[in-house]
């Protein structure tokens, strides 16, 4: 536990090698089995096994040897100013990452390493293009230690080498949000995946030759049902309906069950805590992830909900942050909660939810009308072409249904899309189907742009686009005067602080 920054190169945990071997074997088992079946088919089993067994053993052995070499040649050292990793069996590579450049450290546990109590430590440098440095695998304690180390380095409070360093466990943490198993399952019910249903449905109709019955064939269904309940067959039409309902119902069940299982795997034992380094999120059943989101790096918030879950008051909170969370810069802070549970988390990030007194504005009706007119003009051209092809009915349908749908769409977008600005924040809200509220801090934006196409210039509206680190934010179709006002207000807040002050939070310490 001692020695904070000893420069001696260390190896990853020896059990890494075991993990690699296990995953390697599981990768090899399938090809070997397939090969085995092929051999068995040939019939000359004894000859073949004599021939193949040494070959298989040689391949497995070579792989394990290589895994061992890789493990033995990979060392990392934790220096005064950086973390260095030397790796490579034949060609050697040395990489050094200064602490200042490390945006975040995340720990990830996949199934096999978890059995061994190992973690993969990822150092994110936010340079675009994913993780720049990863160490697989280290003991859990070592992972925690490295993370603490990087965090304290980055905070600027450089701890001199001392053995009475504060252990990670005493770091105080406050639980902000947790999901009970019941909540996770409820969440899963809402995660009904139409895509899975479509895939399973398509699959079922593709591989129906494997099933003992024809899923889409009503007559076959009737025969199936005729066995146990002869009276059903007599009912004829009713049996068809029951069969159809059964097929649809089982597909829906598959969708629901997949949703629940996927959600349980991902969100099990979800815990969001406030530590002195930021918001710490742990979740997952098989693969448990542990992530700390530094609060001062949060650039904006996003509160979303779905069409159905809105009726029950369920919302999700995402943090738009500078450091990427395995690819996406959106960290899910609260995936599924009521607004009164989200509010304390929002307060913790230094943002605030839109208040009741907020002065919301809508887009200019002219903008939505123009949008509709442009869309309708395209529809008219299309139906003119259809008409020329001699399909009068289709052309008429296109004009009425397409036009009606577009008019409704634009009206709803106008009705529900809003924006507002107050002393410190900027709010946008859009979507009637699944409302999505974005909250950005005025001071944390990167650039402001007013965009106007020819139509907008003629009709006096404009789009506002904001440069937001890790996300996008735009307000469409607002009056030019208002766009200029918002721009000037936002720019004034932006120039109050320099970028590095935003990123580092409390820089002025030294």
């Amino acid at each position: 536990m001692s020695g904070n920054t000893d420069d001696t190169p260390r190896r990853t945990d020896p059990r890494t090698f075991a993990v690699r071997a296990v995953s390697l074997l599981s990768q090899l088992v399938i090809p070997i089995m397939i090969g085995g079946f092929a051999i068995l088919d040939e019939g000359e089993f004894d000859d073949m096994i004599l021939f193949f067994l040494p070959l298989v053993l040689a391949v497995v052995g070579a792989n394990i040897l290589f895994a061992y070499l890789r493990w033995s040649r990979l060392t990392y050292s934790v220096g005064e100013a950086d973390i260095r990793v030397d790796s490579g069996v034949l060609s050697r590579a040395a990489r050094s990452v200064p602490y200042e450049r490390i945006q975040d450290v995340s720990l990830e546990q996949k199934l096999v390493p978890r059995l061994f109590g190992l973690v993969e430590v990822k150092f994110e440098t936010g340079a675009g293009g994913g993780d720049d440095l990863a160490l697989a695998y280290l003991p859990e304690s070592e992972g925690e230690r490295l993370r603490e180390l990087v965090r304290t380095r980055r905070e600027g409070a450089v701890l001199e080498q001392s053995d009475d360093e504060v252990p990670a466990s005493t770091e105080e943490s406050r639980l902000l949000f947790a999901m009970s198993p019941r909540r996770v399952v409820t969440f899963g019910l809402f995660e009904f995946s139409l895509a899975v249903v479509a895939v399973v449905g398509g699959f079922a109709s593709q591989i129906d030759f494997l099933l003992p019955f024809e899923i889409w064939d009503w007559r076959a269904w009737r025969e199936q049902l005729a066995g146990p309940g002869q009276w059903l067959a007599g009912l004829g039409f009713l049996a068809q309906v029951i069969g159809g309902l059964f097929a649809v119902g089982s597909l829906l069940l598959v969708g629901v069950v997949t949703g629940v299982i996927r959600t349980v795997m991902r969100e099990w034992d979800f815990r969001l805590e406030r530590t002195d380094k930021g918001l710490r999120r742990r979740r997952g059943l098989v693969t448990r992830t542990d992530l700390v989101m530094p609060v001062h790096r949060v650039q904006a918030l996003r509160v979303r909900t779905g069409f159905v879950r809105r009726l029950f008051g369920w919302h999700a909170l995402k943090l738009v942050s500078l450091a990427g969370d395995s690819g996406s810069a959106n960290h899910e802070a609260v995936p599924f909660a009521q607004m009164q549970e989200i509010a304390p988390v929002v307060a913790e990030t230094g943002f605030s939810l839109p208040g009741h007194t907020l002065d919301w504005h809508r887009a200019m009706p002219t903008y939505r009308i123009d949008n509709f007119l442009v869309g309708f003009a395209i529809t008219l051209v299309t139906s003119a072409v259809v008409l020329a092809l001699g399909r009068f009915d289709v052309a008429l349908l296109l004009v009425f249904i397409g036009g009606g749908w577009m008019a409704l769409q634009e009206y709803l977008a106008w009705r529900w899309g809003r924006h507002a600005i107050d002393a410190g924040q900027l709010y946008t809200r859009r979507g009637w189907f699944a409302p999505d509220v974005a909250i950005a801090s005025r001071g944390k934006l990167q650039s402001v742009e007013i965009v106007r196409n020819p139509l907008a210039r003629m009709r006096g509206y404009a789009d506002l686009r904001f440069g937001l680190a890790g996300g996008r934010l735009r307000i469409r179709g607002l009056p030019l005067v208002e766009a200029r006002q918002i721009r000037d207000a936002v720019l004034d807040s932006m120039t109050e602080q320099d970028f590095s002050e935003i990123v580092e939070g409390q820089t002025v310490r030294a």
Partner: protein, 155 residues
């Protein structure tokens, strides 16, 4: 120009450079038109005349419009770039949000002694804002200007 409040115009050499750039494109177009003219039988000029019209418009009108549509300002420690004939964009980046700055010169730009200034921000949208058609000395001076402002802010 709808919002030309206090924008600085680009270097006039930018017009000449654009014209030369477009002339090269027009040459390619005319060569293609000539081939088409020869290949397609019929009245001489069916391809030639429209092609010539396009080329003339591109050489006479486009550089002027582009030149007049573009402007910039460095007031209040903010870089403001107004661009675009059809889709007009008006972008403002405060110096405090600039991550790094490039001054680039293509071969044609070098011949005319002009350069493109590009500032990079951390935003996903407008990750880089570029301003073409500056005198090279001006571009480097602007770069130094912005860099000094950044350093002053961070220290």
């Amino acid at each position: 120009m709808d919002d030309a409040d206090d924008l600085t115009q680009l270097d006039p050499a930018y017009k000449s450079m654009l014209r030369l750039q477009l002339a090269i494109a027009a040459l390619v177009l005319l060569v293609a038109a000539t081939i088409a003219e020869v290949a397609i039988p019929g009245w001489t000029g069916a391809v030639w005349i429209p092609a010539l019209c396009v080329a003339a418009y591109a050489l006479i009108r486009v550089p002027l419009r582009r030149y007049h549509a573009t402007g910039f300002s460095l007031a209040d420690e903010r870089l403001r770039v107004v661009r675009g004939i059809f889709f007009r964009t008006d972008t403002v980046v405060p110096f405090g949000r600039v991550q790094h700055i490039d001054v680039g010169q293509g071969p044609l730009e070098r011949a005319f002694g002009i350069a493109t200034l590009t500032v990079h921000t951390a935003g996903t949208h407008n990750a880089s804002v570029s301003l073409p058609g500056l005198r090279h000395e001006d571009a480097t001076a602007m770069r130094e200007n912005i860099r000094a402002a950044i350093r002053r802010d961070t220290r």
